[in-house]
Subunit: 564 residues, 2 copies
Amino acid sequence: MTIRTLSYLPRLSSPDQRTAPAPQLHQPASKIVNLVPSDLSRGMNADYGVPTELAGPLQQRRALYQPRLPPCLQGATVRVEYDDATTTIDPTGAHAVAQAFPRTYGQRLVTFLSPDDTAGAVKAVNERQPIRVGVVFSGRQSPGGHNVVWGLHDALKVYNPQSILYGFIGGTEGLFANKTLEITNDVLASYKNQGGFDLLGRSIDQIRSSKQVSAAMTTCQDLNLDGLVIVGGVTSNSDAAQLAETLVQKNCKTKVVGVPVSLNGDLKNQFVETTVGFDTVCKVNSQLISNVCLDAISAGKYYYFVRLMGRKASHVALECALQSHPNMLIMGEEVALSKLTLMEVINKICDGVQARAELGKHHGVLLIPEGLIESIPEMYALIQEISILHNNNVPVTEIPTQLSPWAAALFQFLPPFIRRELLLHQESDNSAQLSQIDTEQLLAHLVEAEMIKRTKEGRYKGKKFSSVCHFFGYQARGSLPSNFDCDYAYVLGHISLHMIAAGLTGYMATVANLKDPVHKWRCAAAPLTAMMSVRRHLRGPGAIPIGKPAIHPSPIDLKGKAYE
Amino acid sequence: MTIRTLSYLPRLSSPDQRTAPAPQLHQPASKIVNLVPSDLSRGMNADYGVPTELAGPLQQRRALYQPRLPPCLQGATVRVEYDDATTTIDPTGAHAVAQAFPRTYGQRLVTFLSPDDTAGAVKAVNERQPIRVGVVFSGRQSPGGHNVVWGLHDALKVYNPQSILYGFIGGTEGLFANKTLEITNDVLASYKNQGGFDLLGRSIDQIRSSKQVSAAMTTCQDLNLDGLVIVGGVTSNSDAAQLAETLVQKNCKTKVVGVPVSLNGDLKNQFVETTVGFDTVCKVNSQLISNVCLDAISAGKYYYFVRLMGRKASHVALECALQSHPNMLIMGEEVALSKLTLMEVINKICDGVQARAELGKHHGVLLIPEGLIESIPEMYALIQEISILHNNNVPVTEIPTQLSPWAAALFQFLPPFIRRELLLHQESDNSAQLSQIDTEQLLAHLVEAEMIKRTKEGRYKGKKFSSVCHFFGYQARGSLPSNFDCDYAYVLGHISLHMIAAGLTGYMATVANLKDPVHKWRCAAAPLTAMMSVRRHLRGPGAIPIGKPAIHPSPIDLKGKAYE
């Protein structure tokens, strides 16, 4: 037996390999419980949502945390206050947005407050009808996603214990096919404050084509839903706005509510301070980067090229740089703004390596956001051409021969592993699979070549340049959520219920004052259309056509305070 | 400015990017303190051993931990008990070891106990002379290394406050050049319970050539050292034995003591239960693997190929598999024993993928030790040939042309990125740079090709196989040590002092009963020569010639309990 599956793995109590059982700072996800052969670490079955024991002591301890609520959400009822009507954050696009969303454009901002009149509020509770809500994960798993479901569930049961919450199994695919799991306290028990989206899973992350929209509507009608909560990022919330508009137009009673969950942190605007998951991912990655920094200085001989998640914006990389202090951060936004070519980026890095060598230092740590590659003009153009050929169903093997002469020349210049990765099939939103492109290896490779060249030319006299490459992506994404994300997600779940109860549709649940303690948080809801803009230039091979209103990823503000 | 160095990074108090300041489970290495432009995360200067503020709140909290000591080490003196004389763990090699180490072979086992007669012990303390000790990091940084120095320092000052501890700056290079830092409480303050080896650094990790041995002896004499403590793994402790023998032969009074610090966990034998760092690295990696497992099951569409450290033995991978429950573990020891070829390994993985697809599962997690590639017979032969050509100073570009026809054919079959990595320059011990060979990508690449082939032949009907590759190496190595490693390292530091005081040389500090609480730990010292064996077959392109006695990495016992 060479390849061992779980069924053969011994229990940890076997003494040979076990390390000492003293209480530990880094507790492992240890203890093998209820193992199903060949299955994964939570002892989960093939089906989603099966209540299971938690995998290890750390998970168990984490499950005990009770997220906090601001005062307005602590009672059985809230007061709903309507503010000004909204336009869009992009005034020049207002007309296009208004035309595309005739029924849901221009809605008013909403704030949730503690009730003025407690006696009246209690009376109101007794007159309430049970409410029926569905929830779906759409978009990449982010730490905290489970707590949105938990908060929604708790608020729903306080609203009226007869209320029902359905989770769609397998993400949007489950929504289209009406595959549901009723969310109960028992189901939630092993998912409270836990990472991943494995309570329900996720799949194609789109509710966009008319077939998809109509399948979603049919499910809402079949389940007689009062509300549908869509948990996701930029594109999922654009889809939520479209679905809300369609349901209103077709007189379907289901209210559509979006919840901002995305580890990239790029769903930020005047209504949304941050997304669920961003805090955790930055903290976990910063810890790993700090470890690598210590490693670099201990041996003093390697440059570490660390790629971080962040396709359209470098938020994660910038935040991690602030927390962990690497030597260099190469921000996509800056590269794009300065229109730096690939070789200019390489030369800047080499200049840094050379300057450090003159100080006697032959080690360092560089952070690279995965979206960097699309920020380099000539690489962007190449990826664009490949994307168009993909969309025209040109076979992968023929793509290199159909490129323009300049794109073909660049393609041939790149190392073979990057060529292969550039040709990979695309993401569900038709953009390049940036997470699969080893940009850090490309840079390390070219920096090494340039340093060898400088050495030969006598311009560099330091030690041989050596690099180690890392991609810190998926290992943070599945992490246990931070207290902040536990609280924030749980609060957003509560707000979602109150939005549905208030009859709001095409809105996103939001919280303001997140830098203050939880009791000062301001709970609100903002129309999704108010967050939209209209792109006149294609930015990245995304699926949203030019001129179509959508919520777009917000890049880092190069005039903003954090950047300065 | 595109490439930003630390001097330009803002403080975390800038509000734009900062995430909420709630108390967190995963605390970041945040807070920018005393930043030196262009330097690393601990705010360290170019020089080693400069006392600095700790980088973040987690590091600060960690520094408060006081490691525990077993009763025998809590007083100012210990009782030294001599047990039986030793031979070697390899009876057939005993003669060769005895010949190579005429002065240090066959020494007795030593145990340290609480003193019988406290009054006598106190009297003894007053008659003690100050003691002079040097300590050097040799080998890869492992969490806990700093606590060896801390324990040694504390024991030394209790022994006689006039005693002096020197740390060699820059590892063995500092030893040869007599570059020292006097270790004081002030120096230690910001390194207690911290990861990395950055208090002193490390470099070439060898005391082997006669030039190196004689430089080390000169330093010991110049500093008038009573003892030299070498902190390291398998090869460093082999070197320690050789140095001890030489110093005895040359009538140098310095006693040489080895301390088992290695994250690979391969320095294990009847005297050594585990090495410092192994516990931490397995726990941190297991947590990351658990995160990846959650991620895999959430999206349900990727196979994750995770490579782990472990050159000659798969201890880390096995322990992590026990803690985190992946789907497959490919152990080098098993592959070597069964003499599985590369394509047999690939086919076994593909069979697993296919079996899971029939259960409707298109995701999974595989663990791969970095040493796996040398366990595959034909790959081993290829690496061997390349190594020999390297040693004969054949230029890298010509190596492919000078391979044997079969090795050349295999080399050409491999993807270009692996070909490039195989030709990399070698480690300090002349072995291949396994950490730089992306074995996980090689396997993922070949598995994908095989799954496409099976699809075309109609043997596989599941969804398209997709993989994501990770190397969990350096990010765990720099981690904060676990409580266990903090305690274990601190205790070993104490034992080292008592060994020197007892006049032992060519010994390793050891602790038995590590699975029990600290108060039951048994403190001892074992002759390094007793751990030696003589290899008759070359195992991996290591530097230790056939027939020369050495401490060898212990592979996983395929008949052992952990494996079963």
